[in-house]
């Protein structure tokens, strides 16, 4: 997995890469416009950051409190050490219910655990119900953004795949027409499903409830029509008090899309009479990240996606270039904690401009952690080659990695992007200075070819 190589692929389609860059920048601008209406914005970020820091500092206590209260509410609580166990728990519930089709709303955790392929192998059809997720599911692609999973696609792509799968008119690219076709298709699925899976945005220890936010209402359509609701959460999704939700719900949607709130914010505390509610608490490496002092606070992330929308590299390299479940700046500090070797290029996919840290609603020092990972990776190379393949040691680590990678990507981008993008505000690459003409071939590449 190499970010610069993947980025080069993305940048081949110049018009699309430009559209991607500009569109995400518009989302970033919407975020700016909405937060300027909230005079206490910085105070809210500080509160959110402190609440999360506090929770992480006594996570064991709050997890037990959550379990106790949720159980008293009639929720069945499960614990999963890793992705496999998470999938097994779901597999077991589905077997008990003799269930062969499920509807699922957006959950990055189930992506992380590769739940869909696990269930597919066992003959269970998973229907992703978020429109963007349904589209990429038809295309057999992973999401390229955590909030806008199909942001890498154009409406003509969607029209083509809907024509194939949903029999819509060929060439009709009207988003209203396409969305309504999906509405009819998914309604049928909602009405038939016996089990619905959702993610969790926040879980409240004090009340034993959890909150799911959507704009489409797909999570609610799924769970209220099904007999069984399974909710999956990483153990870091916890907050202590119900009133803390006030802080986080004010921050989440504004940071994500510039809306003041998502249109549906559902609080699940007990199942409806006669129905079942399961909550799976998943570790999958989170306690390890908690133990890494320098990287601990990456666990504060509320998955708003703001750091992606603002990142000059993400916007110009696309979500797939990261090769990880969570892309962008936050993905680049979470993923090396999961597999340092596989994701060793990600901490270098950054200009270290710090825009990610500036927009992060929970004040994660993302760019500083990117820098720290670079040190770790360089150290791992210097002291011991254990666990790192010789190929990497020889190929990448011998040279100053940061230079090599950002250089390659920068050359690829600059060639393709018009001045208007290069010179937009807050773009660390273009701000207040002209960029030098880049030689076709960098010195490094030249040297590699011509060295004695």
């Amino acid at each position: 997995m190499s970010h610069p190589e993947n980025a080069t692929v993305f940048l081949k389609d110049k018009a699309r890469a430009k559209w991607h860059d500009e569109t995400l920048w518009i989302v970033r601008e919407k975020r700016d416009a909405t937060i300027h209406q909230i005079p206490e914005w910085e105070k809210l970020r500080e509160l959110a950051s402190q609440i999360k820091d506090h929770t992480l500092s006594k996570l064991d206590f709050y997890l037990e409190e959550l379990e106790r209260n949720a159980t008293a509410n009639g929720i069945k609580v499960h614990w999963a050490e890793n992705a496999e166990e998470h999938n097994q728990i779901i597999g077991r519930i589905l077997r008990e219910k003799n269930c062969k089709t499920i509807v699922k709303s957006k959950s990055i955790l189930t992506e992380e655990c590769h739940l869909n392929p696990y269930l597919a192998e066992r003959g269970v059809e998973v229907v992703d119900t978020d429109l963007g997720e349904r589209i990429i599911q038809f295309l057999k692609q992973p999401p390229s953004h955590i909030v806008m999973p199909a942001i890498h696609l154009k409406k003509s792509d969607i029209s083509d795949i809907f024509h194939e799968k949903l029999n819509t008119e060929k060439g009709n690219v009207d988003p209203v027409y396409l969305t309504h076709a999906a509405r009819l298709h998914l309604r049928e699925k909602f009405l038939q499903a016996k089990v619905a899976i959702t993610g969790v945005n926040f879980a409240v220890a004090e009340t034993g409830e959890f909150v799911v936010c959507t704009n489409e209402g797909n999570a609610d359509m799924g769970v209220h029509l099904a007999d069984t609701h399974i909710a999956c959460m990483g153990i870091e999704k916890l907050i202590p008090r119900r009133k803390d939700l006030g802080v986080f719900l004010r921050l989440l949607a504004r940071s994500a899309t510039g809306q003041s709130i998502t249109n549906y914010n559902s609080h699940f505390r007990s199942p409806s009479p006669g129905k079942e509610l399961h909550l799976i608490l998943v570790n999958n490496g989170r306690t390890k990240q908690l133990g890494r002092e320098k990287f601990r606070n990456s666990l504060k992330c509320i998955r708003c996606g703001a750091c992606m929308n603002t990142c000059p590299i993400y916007r110009r390299s696309g979500g797939f270039s990261y090769g990880s479940t969570v892309p962008g700046p936050i993905g680049s500090i979470l993923s090396p904690g999961i597999d340092l070797k596989k994701y060793s290029t990600l901490p270098f996919a950054s200009t270290l401009c710090g825009s990610c840290s500036d927009v992060c609603p929970v004040k994660i020092n993302i760019h500083e952690q990117l820098y720290e990972w670079r040190q770790e990776i360089t150290k791992a190379n210097g002291s011991s080659l254990k666990g790192l393949s010789m190929k990497m040691a020889n190929g990448i680590f011998k040279s100053p990695l940061a230079y090599r990678i950002s250089g390659q990507l920068m050359r690829a981008s600059l060639k393709n992007l018009p001045d208007s993008i290069i010179y937009n505000p807050l773009n660390a690459w273009g701000k207040g200075r002209n960029l030098p003409d880049l030689p076709e071939e960098s010195f490094k590449a030249w040297y590699k070819k011509n060295r004695p």
Partner: protein, 186 residues
């Protein structure tokens, strides 16, 4: 060792120093709450309507199935709450009551006591929520103060109709749930 024990054990083993939990202070709210609520609702693609406008809508539109749990519109209700939510798949209009709302974002709070079936606000084609003007609060902090620790199996802030921008970021209203949201302030 169970996974619960190993997860909790791993956290305890880190012996992290406890960080303080902050109090949440009061923040300023809009002077005109109805106006702020209306602006926020419009931004979320919902609209404020009068009782007369809803009555007019009903008389003008050929809704065949209408359900109301709001006393203000009781006479328009023409169906019973079914045993299974799926039987409401052809519901044209639902009129329900909201407990209170937050003006900053037009989020209206409802819980099981307002919902004879949890699926109603999602499965209906069109949704009307009735909220008392005096129950419009300033912001989400005030809203959670009002909720306090009340117990309800399900509670929700609804702030607009079902919408999506997943196709090239074009906003489309009516993704899965209600195609429209009208709020009657009484």
């Amino acid at each position: 060792m169970s996974s619960k024990e190993s997860i909790l054990g791993a956290i305890q083993g880190l012996k992290l120093e406890e960080k303080p939990l902050p109090d949440i202070p009061d923040f300023e709210i809009a002077d005109d709450l109805v106006e702020a609520f209306t602006t926020a609702l419009n931004a979320n693609k919902g609209t404020v309507a009068s009782k007369e406008e809803i009555e007019h809508l009903i008389s003008e539109t050929a809704f065949s199935k209408i359900y109301s749990s709001s006393p203000a519109f009781e006479s328009y209700s023409n169906c019973q709450v079914p045993q299974h939510a799926a039987e409401f798949a052809d519901l044209d209009l639902a009129i329900i009551e909201g407990q209170f709302a937050s003006a900053e974002n037009a989020a209206i709070w409802l819980d099981d006591s307002n919902l004879d079936l949890r699926a109603i606000p999602f499965i209906t084609a069109h949704l009307v929520i009735v909220v008392k003007k005096e129950n419009i609060l300033g912001n989400m902090h005030q809203a959670y103060d009002r909720i306090g620790l009340t117990k309800s199996g399900f509670g929700i802030f609804i702030a607009g109709p079902s919408k999506t921008a997943d196709i090239e970021q074009s906003l489309v209203v009516g993704a899965h749930g209600a195609i429209s949201l009208r709020v009657v302030l009484i």
